[in-house]
Symmetry: C2
Subunit: 347 residues, 2 copies
């Protein structure tokens, strides 16, 4: 599937400044980042670039345009959100013990946990330094937004881990996790451009709200993949990955909260130290019976719908690219059964 | 040994603002921080406060005074450096697999690696947020200094890990690691107060240089402890800890670089997958023969001397407290043999 033009354009816009920024890293840190970004192999040899789709940088550039400003002024913000996103990927992989991302071994597997942790922190720090290269009020406001975002992401990440030890996570709690962990960065990406061009507060808020909706949709879609997804849509994760990892994601929590035998059986299975393949299949069926798939799919669709409504208040030339990016949160192409895309089961 | 007054005063000065700042953390993150700081036990019950000696906050407050400013204006900087120091402790313990700090189990042992990593990042982020609560030019300059410091610390930490895989680390490389990993934060602590009160650049530089010297002394002292130190001076680490961990600290590198059989034997021992107790004792003796202890002790002493010379150019009322803190980098009280303090071996 070809990337939408708006993503290719964003990548081209930020790449020179991003490459220059990464030059500041020490060689030892740089090799971890270059590998993680999908630019080089373990031995430092250039590879055909895969890696990030640049959704968040694209949103940051569009955000500046939406506020009537020059997207070039948003480039430091676009790079900062891209770095934050990859910081989160790097430490998530360590914390979750994930061995694969984007069809490759994760950085901690290749370089060790410590190297991955340091490289991730260096990337986050570099994004903040780029914003503060100029100390204008807009830059300082953008950095304040970034610090708030990192704060929320860490709250979400911490909840994520805490939920693994609980079988009584409520839907509201899971939604807080989703908003903190994922929607916060999408909010940041969608508003930081407007902040950097000094846009009106009402536009910044509206863009932030748009981002929050898109972020919820993205996470809901990802949660569906975490239970029903097959490689390669999951980047290499096996079906039922989040169930085995005892995650408290939205569809799983809808299942755990179900009344009667469905919820009770699910909670019993969750408390087992190890799930057999049959246990896993049974758990997934129970989550479906509880409505976990339908509920999460509806949440994603409704969140995208709300995002699309919000952009009507923005300049018209921005509607189409923002709508294209918001639509990436749609869960309809997620394949939930071997050979069957979810969209074919009707909407 | 009672803490010098200047440390107690600093702790009292920053505690209200630091406590207020920590209130912003989520309960899940807070419990990890409160445990790590030595304020609460695993179950959240208050314990007799041990924890940090507040050396870096004290230096930050004195730094403001040294530049002729009000130490109160340096409180956000003092808290930021205290948080950075604890961020580094938390992730160092994860990366080095250390089980004990300040005579207690480390946070990652108690709460898991993921919780410790997130809590550490949240603490670092909080320190940055406190600085940016006001967006005055001095605050922005202080945050710029903090970001540079974190950059250097991560370079040093990464080198530290890289050195564990090498037996050919040079003394210069080890010094770069020492400066990056440790002296950078001491430089930040010693200059951030002056930055926050808008002190003259020459004073800021002089204080930074003072801090760099103190930092080198502190790390050299710590490196001695890492080879020769006994609990409780090491906070619970066994003698020879850094040798077993294949660290590239200063005394060890002096040993590895030694000519003749001493260096060769040391490199051979270092390449063994596992050291017996005899191997360890032999390694330590070889490092001594190579002059690793004397060299590192001299470095610490000379660095403190240089720091003491630098403060002569500062206002007189600041000499005594700065000298007291610099002297904490002296290695003379480090016990290098059971029952024998190093100072008793003469200077």
């Amino acid at each position: 599937m070809a990337a939408p033009n708006v993503l290719t354009e964003a990548k081209n816009t930020i790449m020179p400044a991003m490459t220059a920024a990464l030059e500041r890293l020490s060689p030892e840190i740089r090799r971890v980042i270059d590998y993680h970004m999908g630019w080089r192999d373990v031995d430092g040899r250039p590879v055909e670039r895969r890696g990030s789709k640049s959704i968040r940088p694209a949103l940051a550039l569009l955000s500046a345009q939406a506020a009537g400003g020059d997207p070039q002024e948003a480039v430091p913000g676009a790079i900062a959100v891209e770095f934050i996103n990859n910081w989160a990927f790097l430490i998530d992989d360590v914390m979750d013990g994930d061995s694969f991302r984007r069809q490759r071994e994760t950085a901690w597997v290749v370089f060790g946990e410590g190297q991955a942790i340091c490289a991730s922190a260096a990337l986050l720090n570099l994004g903040q330094q780029i914003l503060l290269e100029s100390a204008s009020p807009n830059r300082v406001a953008a950095l304040t937004l970034v610090l708030q975002t990192v704060e929320r992401m860490l709250v979400g990440q911490t909840l994520d881990m805490t939920f693994e030890e609980r079988s009584d996570v409520s839907i509201d709690e899971s939604l807080v996790m989703t908003r903190s962990k994922t929607a916060s960065l999408m909010r940041c990406a969608c508003s930081i451009g407007a902040v950097l061009v000094g846009g009106p507060p009402a536009t910044i808020d509206l863009l932030g709200e748009f981002g929050e909706c898109v972020g919820v949709a993205f996470q809901a879609r990802d949660d569906i993949l975490g239970v029903w997804g097959f490689p390669p849509q999951t980047g290499g994760r096996p079906r039922g990955f989040d169930v085995r990892a005892r995650k408290g994601t939205l569809p799983i929590v809808v299942g755990l909260q179900a009344g009667g035998t469905v919820g009770a059986e699910l909670r019993t299975l969750r408390d087992k130290p190890e799930l057999t393949d049959d246990d896993l299949d049974h758990s997934i069926r129970l989550i479906e019976q509880a409505g976990g798939l339908a509920w999460t799919r509806d949440l994603a669709r409704n969140s995208v719908d709300r995002a699309l409504k919000l952009i009507r208040e923005l300049p018209e030339e921005i509607h189409s690219p923002l709508a294209t990016l918001a639509a990436l949160g749609q869960p309809d192409d997620v394949q939930t059964e071997p050979g069957h895309a979810a969209s074919s089961t009707g909407r």
